[in-house]
């Protein structure tokens, strides 16, 4: 590690380490990536204010190699950004990758996954949300009746109060029994 002149003060790094699931070197590496996206906008030394004010626009973020191929990239950026538009400051950026790291527990990941898949933002995963998710996954290649069949099955498996929508509790309940979720909801940076 050495005596590299750090971009953050000690207190900042401590706070970041407390609030995220990253170690020191990880935080600095994530900052390097953040800065690499827009070197002229992001200063080398970040103060407290700047870390939440200086934002990188959505279209630059969408072209990041880690997010480029993800069908949900736009929604991810919107969820993690402060104002919901998708422009992310460094705080949001760090938060996003911290949630996606390996160390984040299941509860955090499922809470954010719920928000990501909730495309219309009504705190419920309705049929339209599920349909959008499925179509994004398969690039519209499934036929209509197949989509309908899969959605019916999903609702049957998860909807406990039969209201045709998934609330957060139902989502979390079914995700805790889905073993793949934790391994696939993970981005390495």
């Amino acid at each position: 590690m050495g005596n590299k002149e750090s971009s953050f003060s000690e207190a900042q790094l401590e706070a970041y380490q407390d609030c995220t699931f990253f170690t020191r070197t990880d935080i600095l590496r994530v900052f390097d990536r953040f800065r690499g996206l827009a070197p002229d906008q992001v200063p080398y030394n970040m103060s407290y204010n700047e870390s939440s004010m200086v934002k990188i626009p959505l279209d630059v973020l969408e072209n990041m190699p880690e997010l480029k191929e993800n069908p949900f990239r736009r929604r991810i950026c919107q969820v993690f950004s402060d104002d919901g538009t998708g422009d992310m400051a460094f705080d949001d950026f760090l938060d996003m990758f911290s949630v996606f790291s390996e160390a984040a527990p299941r509860e955090i990941k499922s809470a954010y996954a719920f928000k990501i898949y909730d495309f219309d933002g009504d705190n419920f995963l309705g049929r339209s949300d599920l349909e959008t998710t499925l179509k994004a996954l398969t690039q519209n290649s499934l036929k209509t009746e197949e989509v309908k069949f899969v959605l019916d099955q999903v609702l049957e498996e998860t909807d406990l109060d039969s209201d045709g929508m998934l609330s957060y509790i139902e989502f979390e309940h079914v995700i805790s029994r889905a073993p793949d979720f934790l391994t696939t909801f993970h981005i390495r940076i």
Partner: protein, 797 residues
């Protein structure tokens, strides 16, 4: 966005768990509470069918909402009730009574259900915010005062940061992360579990190697090189047996060291077979001496002794224990998921596919297109399975009986294949032992020696492919066909090593065929009398010549050494000579020749690759006792395999077509490893416990007379301890310890099983309750509608 503090997030999750358990507990409490409040037969109907819970959310901090719910509803419901006189009191009373079982009536259940989702979520949020504020306050307080607690906290923080720095350093050293990024980006996480498994095995081998280094290699080397600092005290012994042993050892050493001329070809032979000069190195068991090395120090009065035999045995035992603990620890986290998987009724197949389907790690365009195709295929396959299931249920009896007959035949064929393979291995091992004379030319001797290993490798490569083809005929569902093929392949691979060992054991451990004329005089016939196992070989004129195996442990060790080398060579050769040419041919000719295009590139089939690695590891464990350098060799080999397989995956083979579930794969790998480990341990334990050690070599020479087994080195050591510790250890051997311990462990297992069954039952009951609450909600909504309509109709009257 305020970054939530990590510990508060933990509180959040814990509090949600608490909420749900509290809900369970308070169901019964609540029913009794509400019963007291019931005044009339017209009861409170749940108005929370209105999805917005403004009534509750406008209230201040009310965490325990049960009483509040009741009071609010009684007020709002009485309003409705007053308007509708014509409510059928009887039916309402019946609907709202408590059940006979003391469970709450569905009105109470409705009240519990109301706002379950939104309200509890908001309550959790409020509580989390309160906790954050509380924490900030305490931090400010702490920073202001300079109390003792503050110092302790800072000290602990310092230690924690030191740990973090160490973990950081470890991750830096772990240069694999770059490799993993590449693999995951291109092929997704499921394939990378195979590489994670390989990396974990490398770490395991390194640990075992480190143990061996400290306790076996260094003491043995110290004898050879540092005799200035150490005096070597032989295990004292006297008598004719001891003299015989010394004589045999000397002759064995001489035979090894006075080898033939230093010809390149002969040296190569020796390296390939592990004989000659290689036999007299640290690679084989026979090199290690049965010495007790003691520290020669003028200043210390005590002698520090190191009993080589004891150290050897204990190191092997401890490394097995360490490996076992690591495997169990790794698999306990994944066994949960496996158990969940098998409970098919509860496994959310479609939800898992939708929400766990996309691999967020993928960052190459080619792979994302590929992954979408895989997901699409998976959905198609699941839908097809549903159709097949329907078709299967509609099979006529005649078709069913035909199918069962087919399956029975195929199972018999599989069994015949397995038995045939085992018999082949046994025959080749027999052939090997029978031809141990040196009358064959050098090259033939080499071929004969390698014959069992080559046969095993060929069988391991060919027979699983046959199993794949057979499983397609059997018309099982896709996942079941995969599983059964894997089980059969595992059985084949593990058992081939096992059959080799058993046939060696059978051949080398002749009972009742000791050499007859071995007098205890000075002229001790070392050719015939050293050693306690025999092999027979027929030399000229059909005369049966019996010669003893001087050092059977080294001999067995040589077989494992050959297995290890064959494994290494075969994997490398297959990649070089089969897969690379196939890729090149495919690349150039695929457009012209249809067959080549159909065959495609080599497939990176995950389960079979895993079986390869597990087989290497099994050979290592089995041979660890006879070949102390084998962990080091296996460490290098598995490390090399990682990069070889990575090269194969990225450049030569095609990614797997079937969507492998990452978690299921990892637990499968661990299970296979654990099964092979247990079998190996049992076999090895039996061999060590039952076979006599050799007289001419190894650390257990002194125990090679008829009355001893290798394990006696431990018993002798215990016997030399003072009385009290000895008595304690002896106690552990008696029945007075075993019987109560056994009973207690049985009881605790039964207790845990009963508790688990109880939890399962409770889970089912709760699920039923949730479902029925939802239905009640619908029913009561309909009732409210009806009542309102009746009321309006009445008003119009």
């Amino acid at each position: 966005m305020n970054l939530p503090l990590k510990s508060d997030i933990k509180h959040l999750s814990e509090s949600s768990l608490e909420q749900s358990t509290k809900k369970v507990k308070s169901i019964s409490v609540h029913s009794s509470q509400v019963q007291h409040q019931r005044k009339s037969t017209r009861h409170q109907i749940n108005l929370a069918f209105q999805k917005d819970c403004d009534i509750q959310s406008s209230s201040p901090d009310n965490v325990d909402g049960s009483k509040y719910i009741v009071s609010t509803f009684s007020s709002s419901i009485d309003v409705i009730a007053n308007d509708n006189e014509a409510i059928d009191a009887e039916t309402l009373k019946k609907e709202n009574e408590t059940n006979d079982f003391g469970l709450p009536s569905f009105k109470q259940r409705m009240q519990r259900m109301q706002c379950l989702t939104l309200r509890s979520f908001k309550a959790k949020q409020e509580r989390a915010q309160q906790q954050v504020a509380q924490r900030v306050r305490t931090i400010i307080q702490l920073s202001e005062t300079q109390s003792c607690i503050n110092y302790t906290k800072r000290f602990l923080k310092g230690i924690k940061s030191m740990f973090d720095a160490l973990i950081d350093l470890w991750y830096r050293l772990n240069f694999w992360s770059q490799q993993f990024r590449e693999i995951e980006g291109h092929f997704g996480i499921a394939t990378s579990t195979y590489f994670r498994f390989t990396r974990w095995l490398v770490n395991l081998n390194f640990m075992v190697f480190f143990l061996y280094l400290c306790f076996i290699y260094i003491p043995q080397l110290s004898y050879n090189n540092l005799s200035d600092y150490f005096t070597v005290v032989n295990d004292t012994g006297s008598g004719s047996f001891y003299n015989k042993m010394v004589l045999c050892s000397k002759s064995y050493k001489e035979k090894l060291t006075t080898r033939r001329a230093n010809h390149h070809w002969l040296t190569f032979l020796d390296i390939a077979q592990g004989t000659g000069f290689l036999e007299n190195t640290m690679l084989f068991y026979g090199f290690y001496s049965n010495l007790t090395v003691s520290l020669h120090n003028d200043f210390s009065s005590r002698n520090v002794k190191y009993n080589m035999g004891l150290g050897y045995l204990l190191t092997v035992g401890i490394s097995f224990v360490v490996v076992f603990i690591m495997i169990v620890r790794k698999s306990s986290t994944t066994i949960k998921e496996t158990v969940m998987d098998f409970d098919n009724t509860a496994y959310p197949l479609y939800t898992n596919a939708v929400f766990g389907g996309w691999d967020y790690c993928i960052n190459s365009e080619k792979m994302s297109v590929y992954k979408q195709r895989i997901i699409y295929n998976e959905f198609k396959a699941t839908l097809w399975e549903v159709k097949m299931k329907k078709k299967r249920e509609n099979r006529s009896t005649r078709e069913k009986s035909k199918l069962y007959l087919k399956r029975l035949i195929i199972n018999l064929v599989v069994l015949a294949l397995l038995v045939g393979s085992f018999y082949t291995i046994y025959l080749t091992t027999d052939y090997l032992i029978k031809n141990q004379t040196e009358n064959l030319s050098e090259f033939n001797f080499l071929m004969v020696n390698y014959l069992p290993s080559i046969v095993i490798s060929i069988l391991n490569a060919i027979v699983p492919e046959i199993f794949w083809a057979l499983s397609k005929v059997e018309e099982y569902s896709n996942s079941f066909a995969t599983h059964i093929t894997i089980v059969r392949a595992v059985f084949l691979r593990l058992s081939s090593v096992w059959v080799l060992v058993v046939s060696l054991y059978y051949r080398l451990h002749y009972k009742g065929r000791k050499p007859m004329d071995c007098p205890e005089e000075n002229m001790y016939n070392v050719t015939r009398c050293c050693g306690n196992t025999l092999w027979e070989s027929i030399i000229e004129n059909d005369k049966l010549e019996r010669r003893t195996v001087k050092c059977w442990e080294s001999y067995v060790g040589q077989q494992f050494y050959k297995l290890c080398i064959t494994d290494f060579m075969s994997v490398t050769l297959i990649v070089l000579s089969i897969k690379i040419p196939r890729r090149i041919i495919h690349h150039h000719l695929q457009h012209r020749i249809w067959v080549i295009k159909k065959l495609g590139r080599a497939k990176f089939d995950l389960p079979l690759q895993v079986l390869d690695i597990v087989y290497s590891q099994t050979v290592c464990w089995m041979g660890m006792f006879f070949n102390p350098l084998l962990p080091a060799l296996t460490f290098i080999k598995v490390f090399y395999f990682f990069f070889l397989k990575k090269f194969e995956l990225l450049s030569v083979a095609e990614a797997p077509q079937i969507a492998y579930r990452a978690s299921r794969s990892y637990s499968f790998f661990q299970t296979v490893l654990l099964v092979s480990f247990i079998i190996i341990t049992c076999l090895l334990g039996y061999m060590i416990g039952n076979l006599k050690p050799s007289m001419s070599c190894g650390p257990f020479r002194v125990y090679s007379s008829d009355e001893f087994v290798m394990f006696d080195v431990v018993t002798n050591e215990i016997n030399s301890w003072p009385t009290v510790p000895q008595k304690i250890v002896r106690y552990f051997e008696t029945a007075a310890f075993y019987v109560p311990a056994f009973l207690i462990s049985l009881l605790s297992i039964y207790y845990y099983l009963a508790v688990t069954a109880g939890y399962k039952k409770m889970e089912e009951l709760l699920k039923e309750q949730l479902k029925s609450e939802a239905h009640d909600k619908q029913f009561l909504l309909a009732r409210v509608d009806e009542i309102i309509k009746r009321g309006q109709w009445r008003q119009e009257d």
